[in-house]
Amino acid sequence: MKILVAEDSSTVRRLVATRLGADGFDVIEAEDGEQAVELATAELPALIVLDKVMPKLDGFEVIRLLRERVETRSIPIVMLTEQAGEEDVLDGLDLGVDEYMPKPFSPRELSLRVKRVLARRASA
């Protein structure tokens, strides 16, 4: 199952991608918002792990663009962010974020949340 990890920090991207890879996912990576939109549109991943703060397009802008396109509209999103204030969470949920993962985080826990979101989608 293909997962897109969009995160500008190469260190965090590697931590997340390696953890998800070890759990059996096929991981593709984007280092900014524009690349995330391009890869999501081209590869149609089963889920996107998305950092909120990224160069070129931030996480919310990425979601807005993906939600405008029929083919990417329903891809579930787990948002990885250090800004998990109430307003941020509400804005994200309003845009269709499926799960929030506040930083500092545990990659193991992130992987479990990814699995939970995918299971929820599968059973819906």
Binding site: S10, T11, V12, L15, T18, P104, S106, P107, R108
Partner: protein, 334 residues
Amino acid sequence: MSDASVVATLVLIIAIAVLVLLILAQQIVHRIKRRARLVLRPACELAVAEYLADENASVPPPPRNNREHVVLRQVALAALIELRGRERARLTELLERTGVVARTVEELAARRRTRRRRAADMLAEMRSDQSRSALVAALDDLDAATRLGCARALVELGDDDSADHIVEVAAAEADTSPGAVGDVFLGIAAWKPSLLGEAMSSTSSRGLRRILASIIGELRISDHTALLRVALTDTDDELAARSARGLGLIGDDGSVEALTQALGDARRERRVRTAAATSLGWIGDRRALASLRTAASSPDWAVAAASADALVLLGEERGATRPDTEGGLTVAAA
């Protein structure tokens, strides 16, 4: 122009040229080193990620040279900031077993204070027991920023034995480095909040009392409301204003009387009275209604505006002429 001045000019030109060349050479060397580290970084990130992803993985081999050491430390610090829990602890263990912590501890004794400061900051992020004794020793460093960095690192480590020493080091710099001291006490608030109260009661430093009042209020440490009430009556208006705000943030209804007194005290600075009004609104106790109604007609527009806002929080209708600009006030909430 005499021969001597020609020679002097030439010497000066040559010296400047040599200096420029040296600066350029230094920049080139720096760039080459940076590029070399960038080349090493992806492999290092992968090694760290694979180690953390597999509970049974053995610790990667220690760095073979200085460049590898620097890259491992950079990658680990970037990861430590983002990680928590078991994975964070395993990364610290990796830094201990690869000698990175030991080498950073050595840097605490460097001749240049900038290196010592940086070492203290990095050790605060690493949170390794291996650094404990060196950090305690460096609490007596000649450089204040290094001392504060070590204090913060020991707070992160939760070093009970040096708690008093940490407070002493931080308190001594409250007037000169309030930001760094605030960081230390924020850490203490999460670790041993009782120390904040002890420091607040025992210090005579105005700067430290201001910092502590802010932290107690912003973190809503309700055990220390009595101290804030005392500080509210202090002659230092900044301390009193911070204390007033803190009592409101905590929502302490036992402070209504003290806050109404501060609000009604015309000798107090505007910041104290507005903070008191705002806090009375947050606390939401109707015993404050009369004082707020009076203050809403204050000739001081800021006090009147804050009181009018507080009255709305207490369920009063907003007055017809809520003041919003200086001098624009007449009547607020009726």
